[in-house]
């Protein structure tokens, strides 16, 4: 539906700006842009103030950068802070997918599988958009990899802002309700990596209040995630995901529960896979005492916690609450 008005849609102005900034080698000054690029030009002649146009240009530049488009500012060499004569351009080499990156039909088939793992979320939209760019290279694709349907759940609202903060290297603030505590506390964190471990999403980063690295469960963040203006050194993120995984694995290796299980039961089936045999029962590593207590409580009489005491108490507390809520087990025994 072409519009009859002279005022063009903002996306047209944005794309016009990209075309203009890519077509120039030496860069365009702000004045040239505002007077010649369609979108600004019409609004200028329709009477918009220079100030309003400049603000619009600043916003547009930020929006393009948020799309990963490298808008370069070439300032005055003598005084880099003086932007009055600054020129703007988009270097083609940094805008375009490098021409020497090619994908084989087999690689594209694996990428299609990889892009399909996300349940409905920002990640699924990003994966589809990324695949679309790669498909636009016009590569043939092997037959789809059938027989497998991997799926990763992502329901936590904290994920998207956390990811943005990691990309930009910004400190975040959020309220965190630690399991077993009554009230939430505010945390100030440099976020480094997002990890799904045992089907739960965690953020790994440096807790500025505790003064140490910490791993937080996204599901226990009870406020919006505020991205602050405080930045941190992006180099701190390097290898953070692997460090977090190692940390969680070491924690699990340190925390071993001694359990007695009834053979042939659901508990035996689920726990034996993760267990090592012990003199009295089995030893099972765990990361979070509250989450493991949830699981063990579900097994009811099929498992008995020998140690540690904290885990044992947690399981007993859950069973007691369950019994209290449902009355006594008078009547049927299952």
């Amino acid at each position: 539906m072409p519009t009859e008005t002279s005022r063009s849609a903002p996306e047209e102005r944005l794309v016009n700006l990209v075309v203009a900034l890519m077509a120039t080698e030496q860069g365009l000054t702000k004045d040239t842009i505002l007077s010649s690029v369609a979108g600004y030009r019409e609004q200028g002649s329709a009477g918009a103030s220079k100030d309003a146009l400049e603000k619009m240009f600043e916003r547009d530049k930020e929006n393009l950068r948020s799309l990963g488009i490298p808008v370069e500012t070439i300032g005055d060499y003598a005084d880099p802070d003086d932007l009055r004569e600054a020129r703007y351009r988009i270097p083609t080499a940094e805008y375009e997918l490098p021409a020497d990156i090619e994908f084989t039909p087999a690689e594209l088939a694996v990428l299609n599988l990889a892009g399909g793992v996300w349940s409905e979320s920002s990640m699924s939209a990003d994966a589809r958009s990324g695949l679309r760019k790669i498909r636009a290279l016009g590569i043939d694709v092997d037959a789809p990899i059938i027989g497998y349907s991997p799926r990763v759940n992502l329901r936590e609202p904290a994920f998207a802002p956390m990811q943005r903060a990691i990309e930009q290297g910004r400190v975040v603030e959020f309220s965190y309700l630690k399991a077993g505590e009554e009230s939430a506390r505010v945390r100030r964190v440099q976020p480094y990596a997002l990890i799904e471990y045992e089907a739960r999403w965690h953020v790994y980063g440096f807790d500025l209040i505790q003064g140490d690295v910490r791993t937080f469960l996204l599901s226990r963040i009870v406020s919006d995630v505020a991205i602050t203006r405080t930045t941190f050194d992006l180099a701190l993120r390097e290898g953070a995901g692997e460090r977090a995984l190692t940390g969680l694995a070491e924690l699990a290796a340190r925390q071993q529960a001694l359990l007695e299980i009834a053979p042939g039961t659901e508990a035996a089936l689920r726990l034996t896979r993760r267990a090592t045999p012990a003199d009295q029962g089995i030893r099972v590593p765990y990361v979070d005492v509250h989450i493991f207590a949830d699981e063990l409580a579900s097994y009811g009489p099929e498992v008995r916690v020998v140690e540690p005491g904290e885990l044992r108490d947690q399981v007993i507390a859950r069973l007691e609450r369950t019994l209290r809520v449902h009355g006594t087990g008078a009547g049927e025994r299952s």
Binding site: V15, R41, L67, G68, I101, A125, G130, L269, S334
Partner: protein, 322 residues
């Protein structure tokens, strides 16, 4: 398809136009329908995008309007008469833009998941792809990692059966039931919430069934040729027997833990801290495990058998510590 369409912001629409030009050049000629499908938009939205493209171009010189050659153009007759898109003049944007950091992150993390599948991870393709994606991104993507468990003999044998097109035999331990021996034509392996499931044609039940791989043991390949390998399968968890309704009350904070169940909330409780709902299950007593897991955050109201089962389950558990 339509469910995932969200209203697009101007910046999103600009991003789509930047992707549209190289796509159209690559295609040569493409129908509105196919392009709309590729870009996750409606046919009308695609038509508008293509029409908008023709008013985009290089800056006009000294305030004059652009010349026709300075604008993108399309074959209007083909669009108006046959709903076909052919781009006839370009003024830039011919090459695909780099991946954004979030696009790269989503694909990189997905690749790590794919790498955990037998036959994909060991094919050598993954390492090359990880490097290419990192190089093709416009910024350093956030580290997003999905930890994967190890691939054991059960998973490897099922993978072999899928590839060889033969039935697989195993002992299956369903919850609260005696073990059975199954022979299954494998169709699809699902990895969901960190759990592995096999969907396939069960020779014993003469029907499509879903098997949790943790409940599978004594697995071996058969020499029976799989005859249902190409059958379509229902979505995971769909079609399982869910004939019994249990009435529950639960704390809103426990809602995510009920995600695997069919939960019909009482509309009167929307937004309340404690909600009433009906939950559909195969066996009313199976909810006792959920009730104990949620430790009082979920109360089974009825039927009585289900409520008593939960109480008895907790009582028997506690008796071990008396």
């Amino acid at each position: 398809m339509s469910a995932r369409r969200k209203p697009l912001l101007a910046t999103d629409r600009a991003a789509l136009i930047l992707q549209l030009v190289p796509y159209l050049i690559g295609k040569g000629e493409v129908s509105l329908t196919e392009a709309a499908e590729e870009f996750d938009v409606t046919v009308e939205q695609m038509r508008t995008m293509v029409e908008k493209l023709t008013v985009i171009g290089l800056p006009g010189d000294g305030g004059f309007w652009q010349m026709a050659n300075d604008l993108f153009d399309i074959d209007w007759d083909l669009l108006d008469q046959q709903d076909l898109i052919v781009i006839t003049n370009t003024v830039g944007l011919e090459r695909t833009p780099r991946l954004t950091a979030p696009e790269a992150a989503a694909l990189l993390a997905g690749l790590r998941v794919a790498a955990s599948l037998p036959g994909v991870g060991d094919s050598g393709v993954i390492q090359g792809l990880l490097a290419k994606l990192a190089r093709g991104a416009s910024g350093v993507p956030a580290d997003v990692i999905v930890a994967s468990g190890e691939v054991d003999d059960v998973r490897l044998t099922v993978d072999r059966a899928l590839r060889d097109g033969v039935a697989v035999a195993f002992t299956y331990q369903a919850p609260d039931a005696a073990p059975t021996t199954r022979t299954v034509d494998p169709v699809k392996v699902h990895l969901a919430g960190g759990q592995w499931y096999l969907q396939g044609w069960c020779h014993l039940r003469q029907a499509m069934r879903t098997f949790h791989l943790d409940r599978v043991s004594d697995v071996h390949l058969t020499d029976i040729v799989s005859t249902h390998g190409d059958d379509s399968v229902p979505a995971l968890f769909e079609g399982a027997s869910r004939d019994v309704e249990v009435v529950v009350r639960y704390r809103a904070s426990a809602a995510p833990l009920l995600a695997d169940y069919v939960v019909i909330d009482d509309p009167a409780d929307a937004g309340a801290a404690v909600r009433s709902a009906r939950v559909r299950v195969g066996d009313a007593r199976s909810l006792k495990r959920v009730a104990a897991k949620l430790g009082g955050d979920l109360e089974i109201v009825g039927p009585d058998a289900a409520r008593h089962a939960a109480a008895a389950w907790a009582e028997a558990g506690l008796a071990q510590y008396a």
